[in-house]
């Protein structure tokens, strides 16, 4: 009898039930979309922040500062290097997947047309392979993504993987202007250890002192300086979590952490734990955070997440109020029907159960539809703003279902109780 009545309601009052289901679906889709966007926004914004360039630099352990300070008078006297075949170790650390790009940066002074010019040897779009314990790690990496703010004024980016016999270079706009260099020209540069002919692939504008530099391949630089397989500095761009108290504590001295704290710190992508792991993998190197980038990233990330959380909160509040509102009015509408049930002898408990069953079934159908709508909305947001899809979290489905059922019950129980307090004769007489 009970199920026949429930079925009857859906068969005969399907329009009202559909209306409730549609509202629940809309509310649930807002909740789904917003929760997913909120949970995913951190990663997305973090990727966008990578346009600021590297946030970690790796230099030889005791890179003689003196050399840099003496630079004023004595020129380059750097004596310590990182060995080039150790670079692959970067791909083996715990947070290797968070390292988006890295490139060795070797700078030196060369002679071009009898004047001294700074020349940087690096990777542009280098394909690297590293074999360790039988596992092959592969990565395409280079400076292209670490200098996203460069404006290419002439020519294009240097392509390392093209196979003509020439060595290529890119020239800063200021230097190009001073020396009248344009794309396609051949430069003859002289280093400590030899001469190279470099074909200009492109002219770039960077807006800082790199505008006076020549960028060329790492191998060309190493031939010029006679430092085969040696690296002076590595720029690393990694996706990191904003620093919190634990990270600050660890930054002072990781060995002071308790066992649990250490594990948590090590397994969180703090910039300090990534630096620590790089040092573990390449013992002769010292990795440090570029504060300008790392600090700012943390701040902006935190603000964005908080902003999205509060907007999500408002949307959820709106969605829940909308749902409970309609559910309440849906129940109130049925006063005559419920009074009739009471008049023919139904108990309060039975009536309440009947109404709640009906409304919960409607809500669950609505919530299921809403979840998929919300999925679509989240993807629209992801594709439009970040041109990549937003990962769906299983937790969100759970939250949405619990939320919808709770809101439905909260919206309908007071209304049912109020109706049950009314006297059937009055309601049926039409005196409300």
């Amino acid at each position: 009898m009970f199920f026949r009545m429930v079925r009857g309601t859906f068969a005969r009052q399907w329009k009202k039930m559909l209306m409730i289901a549609v509202t629940v679906a809309l509310g649930a889709s807002i909740a789904t979309a917003m929760l997913n966007v909120m949970l995913g926004v951190g990663d997305k914004i973090n990727e966008e922040l990578k346009t600021y360039g590297s946030n970690v630099t790796v230099v030889p352990q005791s890179e003689a500062v003196i050399s840099k300070l003496y630079n004023v008078e004595n020129g380059d006297v750097q004596t310590e290097f990182i060995s080039q075949d150790k670079l692959g170790e970067l791909l083996t650390i715990f947070w290797a997947n968070n390292i988006t790009d890295f490139a060795p940066v070797n700078d030196t002074t060369v002679t071009l047309d009898s004047s001294e010019v700074k020349l940087v040897g690096t990777w542009f779009n280098h394909h690297m392979e590293f074999v360790k314990k039988g596992t092959t790690y592969q990565r395409d990496t280079g400076i292209i993504n670490l200098r996203s703010w460069w404006d290419i004024e002439e020519g294009g980016w240097l392509d390392e993987q093209q196979s003509s016999g020439d060595e290529y270079a890119m020239v800063g706009s200021q230097l190009a202007k001073d020396k009248g260099i344009s794309a396609g020209d051949t430069l003859r540069v002289k280093g400590e250890n030899g001469e190279e002919e470099l074909v200009v692939a492109g002219v770039f504008e960077s807006g800082d002192d790199e505008d006076d530099c020549i960028y060329t391949t790492l191998s060309a630089e190493q031939r010029l300086t006679g430092t085969n397989d040696l690296i002076k500095k590595v720029e690393v761009s990694a996706i990191t979590s904003p620093d919190d108290e634990l990270a600050v504590k660890a930054a002072r001295n990781p060995s002071l952490l308790s066992g649990d704290e250490y594990d948590l710190w090590y397994c969180t992508a703090y910039v300090s734990s990534i630096c620590f792991q790089i040092q573990e993998a390449i013992p002769e190197a010292s990795a440090s955070a570029v504060r300008q980038i790392a600090d700012s990233e943390g701040k902006i990330l935190e603000k964005t997440q908080l902003l999205m959380t509060l907007i999500t909160f408002l949307s959820l509040l709106g969605a829940t109020l909308g749902i409970s509102n309609l559910v309440t009015s849906g129940v109130m509408e049925r006063s005559a029907e419920l009074a009739l049930l009471k008049a023919v002898g139904a108990k309060n408990g039975q009536i309440t159960l009947l109404v709640l069953t009906e409304i919960t079934i409607t809500s669950i159908i609505g919530a299921a539809a809403g979840y998929f709508m919300g999925y679509a909305f989240a993807q629209i947001i992801g594709q439009t703003v970040f041109s990549s899809s937003i990962e769906m979290s299983g937790m969100v489905a759970f939250i949405v279902v619990v939320l919808v059922i709770a809101v439905t019950l909260v919206g309908s129980i007071p209304a049912v109780r109020m109706l049950l307090r009314l006297r059937p004769s009055e309601v049926l007489h039409g005196g409300h």
Partner: protein, 401 residues
């Protein structure tokens, strides 16, 4: 006002007052919709400004360099900085660089303004404290490491410069002067005692300098001269910045301005993404909320089919029924819009205080927009069910089918 109009108003008001519980349900729906609308609108318009201020933690985005040879004169700096509006200009720091020796090692010394440097380089990490008195110095971590300097140490900076016949030697104690026996040129070894108040860590090239106040830099070199470079932090987008920069370079001010592309280009990339994120989110939430309001209004109107049937049976014209129900809807929409604007403003303020710790800019124009939008949506939401209701045969409705 004639009788008919008065009756009309009385009917609308009576319906709103007597059917209190139903109307509260409808009003609540409209208020929620309007709150979300006005709250998100305000946040959307304020996000670029607020976020732009956050992005200033990347430090200077404009630099001034001397035009041609020489230095930047303080009065030119004033003129150049005045080209940026004082609201947008977060701060500027002049730098003058000098070569000096500490413990007989050559070190580059930078004279800066310690009061403003954290505005242009907020990412500076100082262990110890920022120098506040003359004679105090901040030492870059790399210099400190290689020279074995610690916080609290006292060091002596020595500046050696050639003394020519043009040099004003009246301030130089005679024991500091000596003559190179080979070249016969006179040099001065001027000393300055400094107290190390802190060590600077940035992870960048800033660690390779030591910093003193501009006054100490002048005392060390016994020369008042202009600045080598000035860093500015301006809370504005790239397009606006490059316009101002061109204006400065085009004017006769004795300095040339440059954008720090690395900061400005990246900032505009990220900020554009953020703004479009808030925009898309706002529009999706708005569309869904509006549909929610519409379904609630539909439910409220549909419930009153009997009343409409009765009116029609008594001889009311379709048009007058539509007019009356619509006015009810519009009054609701208006009320809801006003209440929602107020709530929305408080919500936006709450968000702004919590996220950015600064209050939101009040934009009066958003209030009429919110009210108009909520009246429009409520009106549209009422129109559809009313039209279908008046089309019904009164006999059928009243019979209860």
């Amino acid at each position: 006002m004639n009788k008919k109009h008065r009756m009309f108003i009385r009917m609308v008001m009576a319906s709103l007052v007597r059917r209190r519980s139903r109307m509260i349900v409808a009003l609540l729906a409209v208020v929620v919709g309007a709150t979300i609308l006005s709250g998100l609108e305000m946040i959307y318009y304020d996000v670029p400004r607020q976020m732009s201020a956050q992005f200033r933690s990347y430090g200077a985005n404009v630099i001034f360099t001397p035009s041609g040879e020489g230095y930047i004169r303080p009065e030119d700096l004033e003129k150049g900085a005045a080209q940026f509006s004082s609201e947008e200009l977060e701060g500027y720091t002049p730098y003058r660089y000098e070569n000096t020796k500490i413990h007989n090692m050559p070190v580059t010394l930078a004279g800066i303004d310690f009061d403003s440097v954290l505005k242009t380089s907020p990412y500076w990490h100082i262990s110890g404290s920022m120098p506040s008195l003359d004679g105090e110095t901040l030492v870059g971590a790399k210099v400190a490491e290689s020279l074995g300097i610690k916080e609290g140490d006292d060091i002596t900076a020595v500046n050696t410069f050639e003394v020519t016949s043009e040099t004003d030697t009246s301030d130089i104690p005679s024991y500091e002067l000596y003559t190179d026996p080979e070249s016969g040129e006179t040099y001065c070894d001027h000393e300055l005692d400094l107290h190390v108040s802190g060590i600077l860590e940035t992870g960048g090239s800033e660690e390779e300098y030591i910093y003193v106040s501009l006054k100490d830099a002048a005392a060390l070199t016994i020369s008042e001269r202009g600045y080598d470079i000035v860093e500015l932090s301006v809370a504005a987008m790239q397009d606006e910045l490059s316009e101002t920069v061109e204006k400065i370079n085009g004017s006769s001010v004795g300095l040339s301005a440059k954008l720090v592309k690395r900061v400005t280009a990246s900032e505009s990339t990220v900020l554009t993404k953020l703004q479009s994120l808030v925009f898309i989110v706002t529009s999706v939430v708005l569309v869904l909320t509006m549909i929610c309001v519409a379904t609630t209004m539909t439910a409220v109107i549909t419930e009153r089919r009997k009343e409409i049937g009765l009116r029609k049976a008594l001889g009311a014209l379709n048009s007058s029924i539509i007019a009356e129900f619509m006015s009810e809807g519009l009054v609701l929409g208006g009320f809801g819009g006003v209440i929602g604007s107020v709530f929305g403003y408080y919500f936006a303020q709450f968000v702004s205080m919590n996220v950015f710790s600064s209050s939101i800019t009040f934009r009066p124009l958003l209030i009429p927009i919110t009210i108009a939008a909520s009246v429009l949506v409520t009106g549209l939401a009422c129109l559809i069910p009313i039209r279908s209701a008046v089309d019904v045969d009164p006999a059928l409705v009243l019979k209860g089918e």
